[in-house]
């Protein structure tokens, strides 16, 4: 039986057998791709080390969930679903594209395992997938081209180009690829029908079905031209597409699966100054942190390649929201552009010793970050920002580039162990207040005085007039519940959570060593704190030999669950309460439910969640040293946060962090909402509602 149409592998063009071209095309295309990839890897091999090949099973599962399963995408519903459609379609159609490439020089090629029934099923599947991809890409182009969501805007001061044209071009290429297959198949289907033969199963409504019908009455020569022409365009566009991917934001098509596989597994910890160098070898390092591009780790460079510029990070970033000069995605884009410029595809690579700060990044940009982690919780491909920002700060600290507003508190931390430079002996002033001490004596642990539990107070709760109330309430709660506890008193130093995050690693190491020693000497078996920043660093960054650490909300939730703690009903309080998730309790340590359980244990308390809650909580303005930093910003993060609470219908904001309380109380005043809105700490609320 003669074929109804000449197959591409049998076709000639001006006497030249096209099979030769269709064979050479993938050879050249793949060779070029391998070359481009090798050039793209050039900076990664010069980068700092970063061990990421541990816990392979866990990594594989996470990759299935987040990369293959696209788990984070629907957090932005419409674009998320469009992306899932495109991605799923891509997975299905990749086999089809391989088949088409092979068909160019092996007529009638089928992939191993895709002959017979499986092949028929796949054929139906890919026709549906191609149609879905075409519709999704079309919608995405309309969205990008006509509706232009604000999230993709690039303000002129960002110093980068808008990448929307790239998105539209790639969507157009995708449309071309799937349309070509529809034309290729549709023309054949029509020709078969004209010859009185039955094509394989064609699902009505698919693009293939549509073109098969449109072509129904077309002459054979027209069908032949479409059949070969669409095939040619498909294969040429395919290899153009493949080699275009590593040129920009669509590199993610290649890098995001490995990027997710190689994600940071441990939250709440800042990476060491240099992987493989232990804390006590730090003095031997010549340089600290990231100063030039090659100081980044290779994984952080892979992050730059993987950024799709989707803007989700900046959309969630509190610094960006108040117009500080920071958008996480711009760091990635600027660094990727830097890599492309200094590691070009052709010609000599020319690494530069020019510092990144002052050229592509600015000091204010890097100090603007509160390390709240909203960007990292949102990024679909798990790009890390906090570690990079801390590494850049480490470089700046070593080179003396620290704003004056931060130098004073850092020096005070070095000399006095707290950022205000207050006297060590005043650290326990909240406990020696006469009235309070008479009602609730607090032990100061030393060689003679021991206790089961340590209450780690940390600096702000110890020294700030207003926050001392949290310390007193926490002590009252522990006393009422019969906990044998004490404090370190003047032996306690600042936990150093922010000292580390602001790049002063050596000072952090000193504070950590002093606290660890004092804690070990106290002989306690458990640690409780009401400060999530202290909680985070004690739990995640202090030596493993430290006793287990709990945040007071975890402790309280457990006492409520086992019935040891009963709370009184609210009296004549018609107000609506909302819980503000502190970044270092929620996002960095996954404690979301315990504080809510405690609130819900107060009979009569009406609680709503803000739209921006749990891992989408909006930072209050930042803790620790961030209180001292004087940023360029249009308004305070705290003010936005208070507005969010009002929008949710709440007038009482409960938080579980002294820094959140400072910032939110200030914001209420700044917003002129005194008397209308109130902020209270969870420990204060519980102390008030305790049945004694």
């Amino acid at each position: 039986m003669n074929p109804v149409l000449t197959a591409p592998a049998e076709a000639t063009f001006l006497g030249f057998p096209m099979a030769v071209f269709y064979f050479l095309l993938p050879v050249a295309g793949v060779a070029l791709f391998v070359y481009i990839m090798a050039r793209r890897m050039a900076p990664l091999v010069r980068a700092a080390p970063d061990p990421r090949l541990d816990h392979l099973g866990q990594r594989f599962r996470l990759m299935l969930k987040y990369a293959v399963g696209q788990y984070r995408h629907p957090r932005y519903l419409l674009p998320g679903l469009l992306h899932i459609a495109l991605f799923a379609g891509f997975m299905v159609l990749s086999l089809r594209s391989i088949t088409l490439i092979m068909t160019g020089f092996v007529d009638g090629y089928t992939l191993p395992g895709l002959g017979g029934t499986a092949g028929e099923v796949y054929s139906v599947l890919k026709d549906v997938a191609a149609t879905v991809v075409l519709i999704a890409a079309g919608l995405a182009m309309i969205r990008r081209g006509i509706f232009k969501p604000e999230r993709y805007d690039v303000p002129p001061e960002a110093g980068i180009k808008d990448h929307s044209w790239e998105a539209v071009l790639v969507l157009a290429l995708i449309c071309t690829l799937v349309t070509c297959d529809m034309l290729f198949e549709g023309s054949m289907d029509a020709a078969l029908r004209q010859a009185g033969q039955h094509p394989e199963l064609v699902v009505p409504g698919t693009g293939r079905w549509l073109f098969g019908n449109l072509f129904a009455g077309a002459p054979r020569s027209t069908l032949q031209a479409w059949h070969l022409g669409s095939f040619f365009v498909h294969n040429v566009v395919f290899f153009f597409f493949l080699n275009f991917l590593p040129m920009g934001k669509h590199f993610h098509v290649i890098t995001s699966l490995p990027n997710v596989f190689l994600m940071k597994l441990k939250k709440g910890v800042i990476k060491p100054v240099r992987w493989g160098v232990s804390d006590d070898q730090l003095d031997e390092l010549d340089s600290f942190g990231v100063k030039k591009f090659e100081d980044f780790t290779w994984k952080h460079m892979l992050d730059f390649y993987s950024c799709v510029d989707c803007g989700r990070c900046a959309d969630q970033c509190p610094a960006y929201a108040v117009k500080r000069p920071l958008a996480p995605r711009f760091i990635s884009i600027k660094c990727r552009d830097y890599a492309f410029e200094h590691y070009p595809l052709w010609g000599d690579i020319h690494p530069s010793d020019e510092p990144l700060i002052g050229s592509i990044l600015s000091e204010d940009e890097i100090w603007s970050c509160t390390t709240c982690g909203a960007c990292e919780a949102e990024c679909p491909v798990f790009i890390e920002y906090i570690d990079k920002i801390v590494d850049l700060r480490r470089g700046m600290v070593e080179d003396g580039m620290v704003p004056q507003s931060l130098q004073k508190p850092l020096r005070a931390l070095e000399k006095r162990g707290n950022p205000w430079g207050k006297l060590e002996k005043k650290r326990l002033a909240w406990s020696t207040d006469k009235e309070f001490a008479a009602e609730c004596p607090v032990k100061v642990l030393d060689k003679k005085t021991a206790a089961e539990t340590l209450y780690f107070v940390d600096s702000i709760t110890s020294y700030d007039d207003r926050m001392q109330s949290i310390a007193q309430c926490t002590a009252r709660i522990l006393t009422a519940l019969g906990v044998d506890f004490g404090i370190l008193g003047r032996a306690e130093k600042d936990s150093g959570n922010e000292v580390r995050r602001f790049g002063e690693e050596m000072l952090f190491q000193e504070l950590k060593a002093q606290n660890s020693e004092a804690i070990a000497a106290s002989g306690v078996h458990r640690i409780v704190t009401a400060d999530p920043h202290a909680f985070n660093t004690l739990k995640n960054e202090y030596p493993d030999s430290l006793p287990p650490v709990q945040h007071i909300s975890q402790f309280l939730a457990r006492k409520i669950r086992c019935g040891e703690l009963k709370l009184k009903p609210l009296e004549a309080d018609e107000r609506v309460y909302t819980y503000h998730d502190p970044c270092y309790l929620g996002r960095h340590n996954d404690v979301y439910d315990d504080p809510r359980q405690v609130l819900d244990a107060v009979p009569g308390l009406r609680r709503v969640d803000m739209l921006e809650s749990r891992d989408r909580s909006f930072c209050c303005g930042g803790g620790g040293l961030m209180l001292f930093y004087e940023p360029e910003e249009e308004q305070r993060m705290g003010v936005l946060r208070v507005e969010m609470a009002r929008k949710a219908g709440a007038s009482v904001i409960v938080t579980a962090c002294p820094f959140c309380l400072v910032n939110i109380e200030d914001a209420i005043k700044v917003a002129g909402l005194e008397g209308k809105m109130e902020a209270i700490d969870l420990a204060e609320l519980v102390a008030r509602q305790m049945e004694v």
């Binding site: 620290v402 070095e414 430079g421 207003r466 000072l507």
Partner: protein, 263 residues
């Protein structure tokens, strides 16, 4: 340009509560933390910036006990090329003139184009810079908040004058300048920076090395003697508001309103 910057170790006013001791001979020193005098830190930063622009060296020098080495080291961590500690039992109890005389002897042993001091010290009387210039018979400008190097013979120096106005002067080198805070933004010195210079040698020079007659300096040579410290009695109309910061602010606003200070 070879620059010498005179620095002093002082109780850090930001991190201490200064109280007079019970017998009025001194302040309570038990719980004090010390650091480099703030004005001197600006002077060192300025010297480093000049050196980085026109070349040369920066040396930091201090009159004090062996603990003053700590502040010299911090300034060396900032980038100063060397430090000299002037220390001798005979120097103890020097008045301003005595300190200036000790520094003069050290300056004459070196070859410096420019000498910078802080405009004053947290615990001082703002007199050493001027006296040192006079003893050296070199031109002097005080409260300098701007320096431009014209050539190796001349500087342009700016001073803030009343009403926020600026005055510009030309001054011949070698000279002595006392530096005002705010002239620049001093760089940060981290613990790592200090450790890096921990093993550098800081020479110590005493009266003998400098050729100073011990009877002309220290307590023996002092012509100004401190009698006592005390807290002034509450004067007529003075009132100290007590309570938390917020209470104090509220009371203050009340008083200001009552007296017609604010409406």
């Amino acid at each position: 340009m070879d620059i010498l910057v005179c620095v002093k170790r002082v109780p850090d006013t930001a991190e201490n509560e200064i109280e007079v001791n019970s017998d009025g001979t001194d302040i309570e020193r038990d719980d004090l933390v010390y650091s480099v005098n703030e004005w001197d830190n600006y002077a060192v930063e300025e010297a480093l910036q000049i050196r980085d622009k026109v070349g040369g060296s920066v040396t930091v020098i201090s009159v004090g006990d062996e603990e003053s080495e700590e502040v010299l080291r911090r300034e060396m961590a900032m980038g100063a090329d060397g430090g000299i500690l002037l220390s001798d039992d005979a120097f103890e109890g020097s008045d301003g003139r005595g300190v200036a005389a000790i520094l003069k002897a050290a300056v004459e042993k070196g070859n410096y184009d420019l000498i910078l001091t802080g405009a004053m010290a947290d615990d001082g009387a703002a007199q050493v810079g001027g006296m040192l210039a006079a003893m050296l018979d070199r031109p002097f400008a005080s409260l300098v908040n701007h320096i431009e190097v014209v050539d190796d013979k001349k500087l342009k120096v700016g001073r803030e004058i009343e009403g926020g106005n600026q005055e510009m002067n030309e001054i011949d080198l070698p000279c002595v300048l006392s530096i005002q805070t705010g002239i620049n933004e001093p760089r940060y010195v981290g613990i790592r920076g200090i450790r890096k210079v921990a093993s550098l040698e800081i020479p110590v020079q005493g009266a003998g090395d400098l050729g100073i007659d011990p009877s002309t300096v220290g307590e023996a040579g002092a012509k100004v003697r401190r009698l006592e410290y005390f807290v002034p009695d509450l004067g007529e109309g003075a009132e100290i508001l007590e309570g938390s910061t917020e209470e104090v602010i509220e009371k203050l606003i009340e008083i200001l309103k009552a007296q017609g200070g604010i409406k």
